[in-house]
Structure formats: C-alpha cells, structure tokens
Assembly symmetry: C2
Homo-oligomer: 211 residues x 2
Amino acid sequence: MGIAERKERHKEDIKKRILEAAKELFLEKGFEATSMRNIAEKVEFSPTALYLYFKEKNNIIYALHQEGFRMLASKFQVLAMVSDPMERLKAMGRIYMQFAMENSDFYELMFIMKEPLQYLEGCPDEDWQEGEKVYHALYNTILECQQKRLFSNIEAHGLSLMIWSTMHGLCTMKIHGQLDHMTSNKNILPEVESKIDYVYETFIAVLERMA
Amino acid sequence: MGIAERKERHKEDIKKRILEAAKELFLEKGFEATSMRNIAEKVEFSPTALYLYFKEKNNIIYALHQEGFRMLASKFQVLAMVSDPMERLKAMGRIYMQFAMENSDFYELMFIMKEPLQYLEGCPDEDWQEGEKVYHALYNTILECQQKRLFSNIEAHGLSLMIWSTMHGLCTMKIHGQLDHMTSNKNILPEVESKIDYVYETFIAVLERMA
DNA sequence: TTTGGAAACTTAACACTGTAAACTATTTTT
DNA sequence: AAAAATAGTTTACAGTGTTAAGTTTCCAAA
C-alpha cells in the first residue's frame, strides 16, 4: 500500500520544515536563545508537537550538527582540483578557517557544543562519522605529502591530529574572543589587520620549514 | 571608624563562602547543572540573597574563572626552576595540558565558556588580564629561545599564538571527546595509551625539528 | 457508509531556571 | 527613642525542556 509511503514522506517533510525553522532561528539569535517554543511557533505547531518528530532537543541539535558537516564537506569539494598535496593541505586549512568564520554558529554546533556528541553517547555503536570523514580528508593528504618525501619520519596520525588541533584551537580562540581580548600584541602587530590570518600564516611557515 | 571595615570584611567573607559553595557544586555536578538556588541552599541563604553579593550569575562565574587562572599560575611557578628556555617551553606545555586534564571543569570555565569574557565586555576598559598573563609567560619563553638562536626568522607573537592555539585545540578536543570519538586511528595506534600525550609528543617533535 | 481505532496534534501541567520588586526584620545613625 | 540604612526573605514574572492526558483528524474494516 503506497499510502504508508506517502505518510512517511509527509513526516520527513515536516521534519525538514522543523529543522529549517530551527536553523533560521539558530542563525539569527544564536543557539542559547532558541527554544523549542520558538521553533514550534515558527512552524505553527504547538510546542509539544515537535516531540512527535524529534525525541528531544538534542536530537534537533544533532541533525543541524550533521548539516553543518555536509556544508563543510561541500566547501571541501574544490580541494579535489588541487593536485599537489602540500598545496591542498594549505588550501584545506584556509577553507576550514573560512568556514569557521563565516558560519561560526555552525562551527560551534559542530565542534564546540557538547550536546551533539553527548547525544551520540546515548546511541551505542554509533560513532562520530561526520568528524571521521573530515579527519580522513586531512590524514590522506598528509599521507600523500609523505609520498612526496615531505614530513618524513613523522607518524601521520599524530601529525594529522596535531594540525587539526592547531586549526581548531585557532578558530575557537577567534570565535570566543580570546584572540581579540589579547591586547598586548595589538600594539606590537599594528600592521596586521587580521590576527587569525597572521597566525595561520605563521603555522604554514612552521610546517613548511620542518617539512 | 573601624566598624565599616569590619562590615566590609564580613561581606568579603560571605562572598568567599558563596564562591566556595559555587565551586564545590560546580566541580561535582558540572556548571550547567548548578543553579543559583543550589548555591543559595548550600550557603543557607534565600536564592535572591546572592544578588546582594553578586550582581548576576555571570559575576560568580567570572570570579571562578579568575580563581582558575590563579590555580594555573601557581602550577606554572615551578617553571622558574627550568633555566633552558626550550626545556621550559616543553614543560609549560605539559603543565598546561595536565592542568586541563585534572581540572577540566575549570579549564572549560577559563577558556571555553563564553560567559566570563562576555561579562568582561560589559565592563569597559577591563581587559582580559588573566589571559594576558599566561600569554606573556609563553611569549617571553619564546623570546628567550630566540636569543639562543632557536625559531630564528619567525615572529615571536605569531609563534606564541600558534603554540597556544595548538595546546588549546588539543585540550578542548580531548575534553569534549572529539579525540576519543575518532575511532579510525584507534586501530592503527593500538600501542598508544593516551592519544593526547601522543599528539603532544608529535607537536614537540615538530617544534624541535623546525627550531 | 458507518463504526472502531490508530495516528496527529493540542492543552494542561510539572519541575525547573535567572532575576526584579516588594516586604520584613535587624542594625546603625541621628 | 525615632529615623534611616542595611540585610534578608517572600512573592512574582517570564521563561525553559518535557510528560501525560485530552482532543481532533483520518484511514481501514464491518
């Protein structure tokens, strides 16, 4: 009977509408200030109707978390055009950083907030596929670099995780304002218009120097 | 008149008691789960009495944020014993990491939560002295390294910020579980008992190689 | 085509949250 | 002793996530 399918599709549609509303509110007011009641109002449902489609709020958050990763993955697509692995590595860092700056709310959802991964803890055997995918893009690039005799004698997983740590630390310190609240180097680096770019350049210089 | 002083001291005592209670609750139940009412109950006050001593909850959070920095600073004291700057840099990283692991709630308060810095925004001309102090310890060590011809031709502020980014990124990825949710390298790094230590070793290797 | 039951949705309610205003009791000053 | 300032409590507001009970809508079998 095709009617069950149609219902199923309808349900998926509503789920999408809810997520769309949640996303909009989330982007315009920030996550903290977005409540279930807000979302419900936007989709013209009663507050508790959302619970028919998502077991709890963390569920909605996790769905947006996944969408964020899809967004990042689509930005990463252009990297396929870059054949030289070292150049690809550098471009990857730039894109990652740019994504974090342009979609800082999503970045927070993907890497800073603990609710999404916390939700994953609840689902056993479910691992963090989204993060894994990003990690692999990085790891494989490092491996390719090593095939070109770069980063020799350094274990690739360790290096990959270290590079990700640096990028993540840089982005979070920018997003949370620590980078800008450090006024002492403002006087000494007056010509630098963007601190985060400056630090990234330094990082690249370090990597190229030791490669 | 010494009576005003005595009253002032009394007030400070109560403030301390409140902070002590807040800290305990915070450490045992995590920040999210600690409410003003919880704290008030612990010090046997009515909930709103706390507002006579702290203008708002962020105020209490900021006070603990400061205490966290004092704790870190006291751990950093042993670094004065290390005369070689490169060795000191490495020890500093270890201590920073260890502090973040042993006091992850405080670390979150100091570097991850946005409330404290958000509170600072409200107080104009108040800059983030706590962070600045830590930064200077790092920056000066880098300068000393450069006097010994290490990290030559690299601007010290950029390098300092990059190093901090790496350490911060590493600690947050550990605390938030991203490091552990990355199972793909678990199979490949079976002998590694602590991923964070392993990545740190890699980082040190990178720094020493390019120095 | 009417009836029974499931599915979709709403209303009411619970146990919380941070915080402001109003009120009361205590202490200090005049 | 009366007035004023201080310290603290009670009450209240507007919000939160979520559950349970009630209501409406829709679809399948009699």
